[in-house]
């Protein structure tokens, strides 16, 4: 009854050529990244240089952290249009709190992130208790946050952070020592292989289909390449930025929470069908509130880091297109706008695509209008893939309420 190991999906330890559960998986985004890289590299040989890629990863980190929050909110089938404004407000709170009010820096950072979480808590209460659509609530939140940002920054509208503060040093100049970076990679690989082998043994003992040792080895090899090649290449220049490591670490934690905990399962269930989730006994409101809070807290953290990277907070921080870029990145990375489908890693993939486009076009000295158009086209493609794959999996037989 348990079937062959081909029944094993990739998500449950199977081989890449096993079942993909009807999802296109990350392949379209990875393909897009490869194509973009090759095109930009062909036009400008500097694109794939280690120096440019180090910059690209540094630019990705704070946007990526904001995108990770958006992924969580999209997974429960909601949206947060205010992440950019919340990140700008958080940047302002850190700068003003530290420089003008004389708070210890860690207090200012903590205050900014807690303020972000609090805003998400308000969104959660308004959507779950009053039944307001998150679209409108967060739009209102955007306006409020922008107003507060201007107010906090005061008349000058801009506050500089001292270069010697740890926040600026962390965001601008701190890189993992090469030895440390390889040690982290080795640790991750070791943990991965160990847990896979453990799971394999338990599955065999339970007489379930289990991945072959070759599959485990193959997956470990893929992971090794995916981790080692970028680490090595970045290390030929300045290395892996501390902020980049923080971003990837947060994504990994979010991924584990989503896939391995009951909370993560309830997030996907609520996004898939909230009525069914409620009747399965899930505390739906709590799931919504936690996702909104995590989203705005991550947005605030992203804002704090971008203040560190720019060594300043001003009225433009978190403004203009940041909201839409973060949402676009989440969708381009493969998280469904319809809820229930997606992965924390789509924050990494989506942000890399967005930053690749931006960095490549900057190298080509192209006007920013082109950047918007190209990003828009990629977003439209991503949404199309999302909608088509959803329709195809429904054609499999199920009826949707």
């Amino acid at each position: 009854m348990s079937g062959t190991s081909l029944d094993l999906s990739w998500r449950h330890g199977g081989a890449p050529w096993g079942r993909w559960r009807g999802e296109p998986g990350p392949w379209p985004v990875i393909g897009a990244l490869v194509v973009l890289s090759l095109v930009f590299q062909a036009i400008n040989g500097n694109f794939l240089s280690a120096d440019n890629l180090v910059n690209l990863t540094l630019q990705s980190a704070s946007l990526g952290i904001i995108t990770l929050g958006v992924v969580l909110v999209l997974l429960v089938g909601q949206i947060d249009l205010s992440v950019g404004a919340v990140s700008g407000l958080a940047a302002a709170v850190v700068a003003v709190g530290f420089v003008q009010q004389g708070w210890p820096l860690w207090v200012a950072v903590l205050a900014a992130v807690l303020l972000g979480a609090g805003i998400g808590g308000v969104y959660g209460l308004l959507t779950t208790r009053l039944g307001l659509p998150s679209f409108v609530v967060t739009l209102a939140g955007l306006l409020v946050a922008v107003g507060m940002q201007v107010r906090v920054l005061g008349s000058t509208g801009s506050v500089n952070l001292p270069y010697e503060s740890w926040l600026v040093r962390f965001a601008q100049q701190t890189f993992l020592h090469p030895v440390a970076s390889y040690a982290v990679v080795a640790l991750v690989l070791g943990t991965y292989v160990g847990s896979r082998l453990l799971e394999r043994r338990r599955r065999v003992e339970a007489e379930l289909s289990a991945a072959s040792l070759a599959t485990v080895a193959g997956r470990a090899a893929v992971l090794a390449v995916v981790l080692l090649v970028p680490t090595w290449y970045l290390n030929t220049d300045r290395g892996v930025g501390a902020m980049v490591a923080l971003f990837v670490g947060l994504v990994a934690v979010a991924d584990l929470l989503l896939r391995r905990t009951a909370w993560g399962r309830s997030v996907r269930a609520v996004g898939s069908n909230v009525d069914s989730a409620r009747r399965a006994g899930i505390a739906v409101r709590r799931v919504y509130v936690t996702c909104f809070m995590a989203c705005t807290a991550l947005a605030a953290l992203g804002g704090v880091l971008s203040a560190g990277r720019l060594a300043a907070a001003n009225q433009g921080t978190g403004g203009s297109d940041l909201n839409l870029t973060a949402i676009a990145a989440a969708v381009i990375g493969g998280t469904s706008l319809f809820g229930g489908r997606g992965s924390a890693w789509s924050a990494v993939l989506g942000v890399l695509v967005i930053q690749a486009i931006s960095s490549g076009l900057t190298l080509l000295n192209v006007d920013s209008s082109v950047r918007y158009v190209v990003t828009g086209v990629v977003l439209a493609l991503a949404v199309t893939i999302d909608a088509v794959s959803r329709r195809r999996s429904e054609a499999g037989g199920g009826t949707r309420r």
Binding site: L8, R21, R203, G398
Partner: protein, 268 residues
């Protein structure tokens, strides 16, 4: 809560042998009176069929038992204790397992994830996928289900397979009362027989079953008692052994028993 417990155990209440009772349950949706003063007793080792026309209030009654609908009036009595059933989680804690008419599955989740939704097995703080998958295979094969994989998202399953998943979910964790709302609607002949066998097995292991059905053949096959709902009110409570098909149909439709109007000879 404790005060109510005292009432339930007090001398005024008759010695309770029911696993689940509804007392004077009424519920309205706006102007629609879906349930009006309904009493229902479910005993151990008993299959109670609830039948009625479309819109008679059957699914509303199921919702009340499942904790998804908090009725305007009336109480539930579980094991002699009166309580307000305010959430689906509470109902399941009390051992009331429900198969909803729309199945209440999450399409993006696979079979295992749906089976254990809201009651996941854990091991050291994280989900125990291996144990859940093993149990999923066991309960699915006991129901004679043919699914391509328990790791297939339920969106890719056929109507009958989805229905089996919903029934399997209700059977996990050994419910005291199994409530099924039209459980065989999407099933073929073989699987219907499996479900009916399962219902009998649940009954024979000492539990109560509430079977809501349109299908009189199913009802006559497994029910011990047939309760008729008509426009939200109880309109008959029959012993399944003795009641005739015509009596039940008459109670459902509200016309007088056809036996009088149509003698056997008239058909020919």
């Amino acid at each position: 809560m404790t005060a109510e417990t005292d009432h339930g155990l007090g001398p005024s209440s008759p010695p309770s042998t029911t696993v689940l009772s509804l007392r004077g349950v009424s519920h309205s949706f706006g102007a629609v009176r879906a349930l009006v003063d309904v009493d229902l007793d479910v005993h151990p080792r008993e299959v109670v069929a609830v039948v009625g026309d479309n819109g008679a209030g059957k699914s509303t009654l199921v919702g009340v038992m499942a904790g998804t609908i908090v009725p305007d009036a009336g109480e539930l009595v579980v094991d002699g204790q009166e309580l307000g059933l305010t959430s689906p989680g509470l109902a399941r804690q009390l051992g009331i397992a429900t198969v909803f008419q729309d199945l209440a599955l999450c399409d993006d989740l696979d079979v295992v994830e749906n089976l254990y939704l809201g009651q996941e097995l854990r091991r050291g703080g994280v989900l125990d996928e291996v144990a859940m998958e093993r149990e999923a295979w066991r309960v699915m094969s006991r129901l004679g289900a043919r699914v391509p994989s328990v790791r297939a998202p339920v969106a890719t399953l056929s109507g009958g397979q989805r229905q089996t998943v919903a029934i399997a979910r209700a059977l996990l964790g050994v419910p005291r009362v199994l409530v099924l709302d039209e459980p065989t609607a999407a099933l073929g002949v073989t699987q219907t027989a499996e479900v009916l066998t399962t219902i009998e097995r649940v009954r024979d292991s000492g539990h109560g079953v509430v079977l809501v059905s349109h299908n009189m053949a199913d009802v006559q096959a497994v029910a011990d008692r047939v309760v008729v709902l008509r426009r939200g009110r109880l309109n008959g409570d029959f012993d399944a052994e003795r009641a005739s098909y015509e009596d039940i149909i008459a109670a459902i439709t509200g016309v007088s028993p056809p036996r009088r109007r149509r003698a056997p000879g008239e058909d020919a």
